[in-house]
Amino acid sequence: MSKAKTWVRHSARLAAGLAGIAVFGALGIAAITAPIPTPQATASAVEAKPPAGTTRIVCTDSFLALGRDATDAGKITSAGTFAVQHSGTGLDAAQEATSTFSFDETKAATVLSLTSTAAPDLAGAASIRLSAPDASGFAATSCSPPQNESWFAGVTTDVGATGVLVLTNPGQVDATVSVTVYSAMGPVVPPGASGIVVQAGQTTAIAVSSLIGTDLSPVLRVKSSGTPVVASLQSTMVKGLNPVGIDVLQSSAAASPTQVIPGVHVTTKLSGAPSTVLRILAVDKNETATVAVYRAGETKAVQQATVELTAGIPEALQLEALEPGDYSIIVSGSSAVVASAWQTTATAKNTDYAWFAAAPTLTESALATVAKGAPASLHIVNDGSAPATVQLSGDTRKSVTVAAGTSAVVPVGPGELRLETSDPVSASVTYAAANALDGLPVFGPESVASTVTVTH
């Protein structure tokens, strides 16, 4: 082979080698940096409307209390009857189909039912005022649809407190209920708290003391299988010889990373005795939650705290004494939490207390009924970033604009109360007087019936 040929050969190899490295390198860099347009799949989802169904909401008729029978301290009897009212276009006189459910020969609950293809337009509320030596105060409840799962983050177990868990099954088949108690021991289903059968069309009441030992700040989770039930927690408290209040607590909004508790009303600033207590539970994961307390109309928190939460163990947070006014409390974490706030009017005599449950987010419209018996106000919290305009109609007509990050209080009269909101808000109706305190979250139509999104 001639020298020239060898030279050509060698330069060809050199060129090939360099070209190989260059092409390979260029392709490698292109792979990493080039914005290659790639197809992306999306799940096709169908919004399906359930067919016509029967909506039932349950209104409490009797205030059930423990230990009113001198011969049987463990017996649960009725301490009084609620005044029930309802509103909404869905249920006119002709369609009205109420049935009553009795507990121990007492009329315990009324069920309003309605068959509708659209989201049913039906709401109801009931209130009661008691002034017995062992039970005195004001309580209000909403008529609510049955649920599979209810959270009660407000159970008082102090000395003098009694509580009754009332379960009503408006369905067609028996429900099996189990109660999980979250305490310092973590989640426990106590003996006798599982497999509680609530027969179709019946109401059952269980003394809370039979479920909970001495734990001071438990959280209850009521789960129903077979058919959903309506659960409420009716409680009374006596300090020394003085009855200091009654309350009916209904299920909070579902466990979620953010819990908004609107309408916490402070009548008098208290020093010394605790007046505002928050109870928080991280359901599944350990959590550092932020608690912020806002006064109505203000954007800056009056109190702020972080709470270290252990999964399954409730935490009680005593807030500093608040000036009289309306407050909202926002608990935010990164995983599911439940929270409730306890507040007392705490004047010397004729006091009342209330547990304020977290309210769900309302996106469009909601229908509520304002009960009689105490002056009521609607507390609207806008936790979002855009101002929300809320149009009130029904028996109270008004338009309110709630700036982002604030809340507003609107006095409302008894009767029908319709809300139309431009942006997501949370709201509750607070009943407050010198000797009356209670708050009822406003639920949107979603909690009754909604569309179902089905994908593949």
Partner: protein, 949 residues
């Protein structure tokens, strides 16, 4: 001397060959130089050409006939012979038959043997190799097949003692004067077997055909008389057509009249059989011409009648013919006598002596270490693994067009992967799922075996082949696919090296092309995204072959992609009609996202290093398990990929070797696969439970890795001296590769894997038991998602299965009527307030299953609670209860069976079409004695001396 009156007929065809003119002139010169001069000469020019005409006119020819270019030799000769008087003997010649000086004398002398000698044939030798016989007498088998008695042999006088033959090549035949015109070549034979036919006719008339071995005629194979020398593809096709037509025509001509219809009836089955054998003989070019010949032979009855009438007066003389036929034993010697000399350039494989076998054994041992528990598990599950159908019928039904295993009434083509699964499951017919387990146990040794064979294409050195086998076995994406697990990716990894082994030489032979075509179809079925790119590469190769005018090679390359295209055609057509053609590339099998590398720059770099799961080859977890502190692990993790550096650097250096044509294509290929892998990781085509599922980039990356390893092997292979450097580099690369796989090999022991023991069914045992008892019906499975929506799937049969998965369903976009229908049913079912009557039975649904959700709180848990209570309250549903796989209800009414009569014919057509293409591919792939011998004449490696790349 009576024989002196010989009239020669020379037929010339100006457009036959480039050298035709020279041949013609030599032939005419040789005629003039005969020691026994011819009495007359007729030149027949088929086609007009000035030079030929001048030559003919100057040749002193008695007559020059100008004829149409399409005139056959037989017609030309007959036309010429008509003009002769009966007193002349006739000598048949063509432009390319150059008789020796004494040829005519020798021929004519044979006529003197006796009046029964009607035809005398010369000894034909090749003009370019004058010691090789072109023809020396033709006979036929008892079945009528023509047999050359000496063609292709070296002429050592071994046949010179022969006198009487049945027939001879038509070129150079001398006919006694006064012979009947019918004895001249029969135009119906299309040019083949003319001399044999003449011989048969002569013998039937009680004449003789005699060989004159001393009369030598040099022939060139221009194809003017007889068959051309097979230089081009068109020559081969012409030979195939003409010889088949001639054979069939002779069969019909010689047969008694009553048997003719029976013969015609037999043509179709014989045609099919010959197509099969042609394919198995790696002569696919024979199939179409023979089919044409069969049709022609069976239909031209007037021609047949004419040929038969020429024979009718002398049908009694078969005894004369039979005595000269070849016996079976003679025929075997004649046909089996392959005189092509074989230069065996291929060295022995050295699979055993080179350590390949030991590597496979070692790999098997590693497999036992890696999967210690698998043997005890009845069914393998987890990740993308699902059970298989329990019986073969259902297994294969899933692979056919028709109702899919999901949905209410989706009629769609099956994924080709379902066919692969069906074949795999059929290997273990009693318990098809067992095949998956075996696959997992044998995956490592099979990968080693494949990697070793692929490496033989790049190096002859045993040590380097072992390095290649190791690199392929420990490829990180393979490990990820085994541990995740992802069955389609594992299969693709096992098939790919074999495709490389045969694919890079597919243009050399039909056997390789056939094998490659099947392997490519299997690979594409397992990893369509990878298959698409390989098809693109094959088409580039095809283009290159076409441009360099290697049409046979191009044809073979074209065939390699045809079975794949055929197998995918129904699916592609369906997706095209859905305006979602790209979804053909979706991964088959269970749509499973699993752990993936992120799609940002860091993740992409990791992916280019083969880290498709974003786990840094499992090293961080492995180091933590060893007890190394978290900070050190974090600091070390980016440097893990250094272990791939030796191979990468060696591959990059491969362009400097003298086999750079090969290595440059390997580097470009690796780069393209890398880009494709990153793009694939960012592409999602399928949806499962409302979440998009990205394309698995591991198979694409593995193809790039194979190219890199090949390039690195070439670098080392070419690094001839010093040997110590080569061995050292190879050892470093091997060590780094071995080390890189330690976390993966120990992953199962450490419990870091997605493999699970079972389940035998993804549905509750109650469902499986009920549906296995032969009861029909589907299960509506609802999965509650964290965004509050509900994912539905309707499962037919006792479990979700691998084969039942359908990419048509998984990639469907938009909402069709069935989606809406099911959504309404689901909405109705999960709404507690609903009281509409249950319609599930009319849809064929027997069970409703609500799958468990993770976590006890949250939107999904709430939705589930609501759904469970709604279903429990529902009249018409019987609660079975909570099972380990979810809450179950049974529909009380008997479900309506699902039927689909309309698609049955479509399914049959598709199945037959696919089977036919695959059958052809298998026949072409089947190794035969001839194909094995032909393969030995080429070196095994690519880019080596003697190769043609």
């Amino acid at each position: 001397m009576p024989a002196a009156n010989v009239h020669a007929i020379v037929v010339a065809r100006p457009d036959a060959r480039d050298l035709g003119y020279a041949h013609f002139r030599e032939t005419l010169d040789a005629l003039r130089a005969q020691t026994l001069p011819i009495a007359g000469l007729t030149v027949v020019l088929c086609g007009s050409d000035k030079r030929f005409a001048t030559l003919a006119n100057e040749s002193g020819a008695t007559t020059v006939l100008q004829m149409d270019p399409h005139t056959s030799y037989a017609v030309a000769v007959r036309q010429a012979a008509k003009r002769l008087d009966d007193e002349s003997a006739v000598w048949l010649l063509a432009q390319d038959t150059t008789p020796a000086e004494d040829a005519l004398k020798q021929l004519a002398s044979q006529l003197d043997l006796g009046p029964s000698v009607m035809v005398v044939a010369p000894k034909l030798v090749r003009k370019n190799e004058q010691d090789v016989l072109a023809s020396l007498g033709v006979s036929m088998t008892p079945g009528g097949r023509a047999v050359e008695l000496g063609a292709g042999q070296f002429d050592q006088g071994q046949h010179d003692a022969r006198t009487d033959v049945l027939g001879a090549d038509v070129r150079g035949l001398l006919f006694r004067r006064g012979m009947h015109l019918d004895l001249l070549p029969d135009p119906a034979l299309a040019g083949a077997d003319e001399g044999l036919d003449i011989g048969v006719r002569a013998h039937l008339d009680a004449h003789r055909v005699v060989i004159a071995p001393k009369a030598r005629v040099l022939v060139s194979g221009d194809g003017v008389a007889g068959m051309p020398e097979p230089k081009r593809g068109s020559d081969r096709r012409r030979i195939a057509y003409a010889s088949r037509l001639a054979q069939l025509h002779r069969r019909l001509t010689y047969a008694p009249v009553l048997l003719v219809p029976l013969h015609i009836l037999s043509f179709l089955p014989i045609l099919l059989w010959r197509a099969v054998t042609a394919l198995a003989d790696k002569q696919p070019h024979r199939v179409l011409p023979e089919a044409g010949a069969t049709i022609v032979a069976a239909t031209r009855w007037p021609t047949l009648a004419r040929s038969r009438s020429g024979l009718n007066r002398s049908r009694g003389g078969w005894v004369n013919v039979d005595s000269l036929r070849v016996t079976k034993a003679q025929r075997r010697t004649l046909l089996g006598n392959d005189t092509d000399d074989i230069t065996n350039v291929r060295r022995d494989l050295h699979f055993f002596s080179g350590g390949g076998a030991w590597a496979v054994l070692a790999s098997l041992a590693a497999s036992v270490v890696m999967f210690p528990l698998l043997l005890g598990w009845p069914v393998l599950g987890g990740g993308g693994l699902l059970p298989m159908r329990g019986d073969l019928g259902q297994l294969w039904a899933d692979a056919a067009f028709g109702l899919r295993g999901y949905g209410l009434g989706y009629v769609a083509p099956a994924d080709p992967f379902a066919g692969v699964i069906a074949v795999l499951g059929s290997l273990s017919p009693v318990a098809p799922s067992l095949a998956i387990q075996m696959l997992w146990l044998l995956a490592l040794p099979l990968a080693t075996l494949g990697g070793w064979f692929a490496a033989t294409r790049f190096t002859e050195r045993s040590g380097l082949r072992l390095l290649g086998a190791l690199a392929w076995t420990v490829a990180p994406t393979f490990m990820a696919a085994l541990l995740d697990p992802r069955p389609a990716a594992v299969l693709a990894h096992l098939v790919l090296p074999w495709l490389v082994y045969v694919g890079v030489v597919a243009h050399r032979s039909w056997g390789y092309a056939g094998t490659a075509s099947i392997l490519l179809a299997v690979l594409t079925a397992c990893a369509p995204s990878l298959g698409a790119i390989i098809i693109a590469f094959a088409l580039v190769g095809l283009l290159v072959a076409m441009l360099s005018r290697r049409f046979t090679g191009a044809g073979r390359l074209l065939w390699t992609v045809i079975p794949t295209l055929a197998v995918f055609a129904p699916l592609a057509w369906r997706q095209f009609r859905e305006s979602n053609l790209v979804a053909v590339l979706a991964d088959p099998g269970a749509a499973y996202q699993g752990a993936r590398a992120s799609t940002d720059m860091q993740g992409s770099i990791g992916l280019l290093m083969g880290d498709a799961t974003g786990s840094s080859w499992g090293w961080p977890n492995f180091l933590s398990w060893l007890g190394v502190g978290g900070d050190i692990v974090t600091a070390l993790t980016p440097f893990i990929f250094v272990l791939a550096a030796p191979i990468l650097l060696l591959a990059l250096a491969s362009g400097f070797t003298k086999r750079f044509f090969v290595t440059l294509s390997l580097l470009v290929g690796a780069g393209v696969f890398g880009v494709a892998a990153v793009a694939a990781a960012r592409t999602s085509l399928a949806v499962f439970n409302g979440e998009p599922v990205s394309v698995w980039p591991g198979s694409l990356w593995a193809a790039g890795w194979l190219a890199l390893v090949g390039a690195a092997l070439v670098t080392l292979d070419e690094l001839a001296r010093p040997a110590a450097v080569r061995r050292g580099l190879a050892a470093v690369a091997a060590l780094a590769l071995g080390l890189s796989a330690v976390p993966s090999v120990t992953a199962v022991m450490r419990g870091e894997h997605g493999l699970t023991n079972g389940p035998t069914s993804t549905l509750p045992a109650y469902v499986a038991a009920t549906l296995q008892d032969g009861e029909g019906g589907a299960t509506l499975v609802l999965t509650m998602l964290e965004d509050g929506s509900i994912a539905q799937r309707i499962v037919w049969g006792a479990s979700d299965t691998l084969g039942a998965q359908s990419t048509v369903l998984a990639t469907r976009q938009g909402i069709d009527t069935e989606d809406t229908q099911i959504a309404n049913v689901v909405a109705d079912l999960v709404t507690p307030e609903s009281s509409a009557p249950i319609t599930l039975d009319s849809l064929g649904i027997r069970f409703v299953l609500v799958e468990p959700v993770v976590g006890s709180a949250g939107v999904a848990a709430t939705t589930r609670e609501q759904a469970v209570s709604a279903l429990t309250q529902r009249a018409g549903l019987q609660t079975v209860g909570e099972t380990g796989k979810g809450a179950l209800w049974q529909v009380e009414a008997k479900p309506v069976p699902r039927t689909d009569a309309a698609s049955a014919s479509k399914a049959t057509i598709i199945a037959i079409g696919t089977a036919l293409v695959l059958l052809i591919a298998f026949l072409v792939a089947l190794p035969t004695r001839g194909s094995v011998r032909a393969a030995r004449t080429r070196p095994r490696g690519v880019g080596l001396k003697g190769g043609d790349e």
